[in-house]
């Protein structure tokens, strides 16, 4: 029998997992993370440090920057990449996702179809990056980890994410369809 026809291979590797399985695993891993690391999952705060590291490497003066004059904010930039738990987690996500799609033979480098996609991606990235800083988190740190920590701000974040998603989908249909 070919591997592709094995029902366990199909359920575990090939097909998408049900949402409930994903939710339970995310909850368990986040609890484990909180116990081991002392703080829950976050993404955008780490990307901020990556951006600052690149800026610094290119000769950008971080010391003149009010945000990084706070030692707590500067610490994330100065911690080496492989000693920084948050950075390693993002690396793990990318490697894990890569092998998951490879194992399911679903890995594909997608072509850029139109310039509109480039514009949409750049605009979307800038908006997300800016917004995660003023909101102090993305859908992971600001919503997922916040709600799991019984913090009210996660629910407020969630409501406004829906408002934003509604406006975003209207803009998408209007300009990019």
């Amino acid at each position: 029998m070919k591997l592709e026809e094995n029902k366990y291979f199909k359920t575990v590797v090939k097909d998408a997992w049900p949402y409930t399985v994903g939710a339970i695993l995310l909850a368990l891993f986040n609890i484990t993370l909180l116990i081991v690391r002392g703080s829950p999952w976050g993404i955008s705060g780490v990307l901020l440090y990556w951006g600052a590291k690149i800026y610094k490497a290119l000769g950008g003066p971080l010391q003149n920057w009010a945000f990084y004059s706070n030692p707590a904010n500067l610490k994330g930039v100065e911690t080496p990449f492989f000693s920084h738990a948050g950075s390693l987690m993002i690396l793990g996500i990318i490697i894990g996702a890569f092998f998951a799609s490879l194992a399911a033979s679903q890995f594909k480098i997608r072509k850029i179809k139109t310039y509109r996609q480039v514009i949409a991606a750049v605009l979307g990235g800038l908006l997300m990056g800016y917004a995660t800083r003023v909101a102090l988190g993305c859908n992971i740190g600001g919503f997922f980890s916040a709600v799991a920590s019984f913090s009210l701000h996660g629910w407020v974040f969630g409501v406004f994410v829906m408002v934003g998603a509604w406006i975003g989908s209207k803009l998408l249909v209007k300009f990019f369809m």
Binding site: A16, Q106, K108, R110, K111, K113, S169, L172, M177
Partner: protein, 75 residues
Amino acid sequence: MAEYRLDCFGEACPVPLLKAQKKLADLKVGDLLIVEVDHSCAIKNVPEWARKEGHNVEIEEIGDGEWEIYIQKTK
């Protein structure tokens, strides 16, 4: 019984779903719409929507990370 192809390669969610919804509305009952996608979440949300609407749906994996979603309009 016409057959239509919708090229959604390179399009991320929710664009394939929105395009399929728009296209299917123009089709006649019995027509077949083939949506070509390479975004794995599209093989979840496009069939989910089409089945909920009561259409006949089948998914064919045509290559690494490429699928064709067959939707036959039933009403």
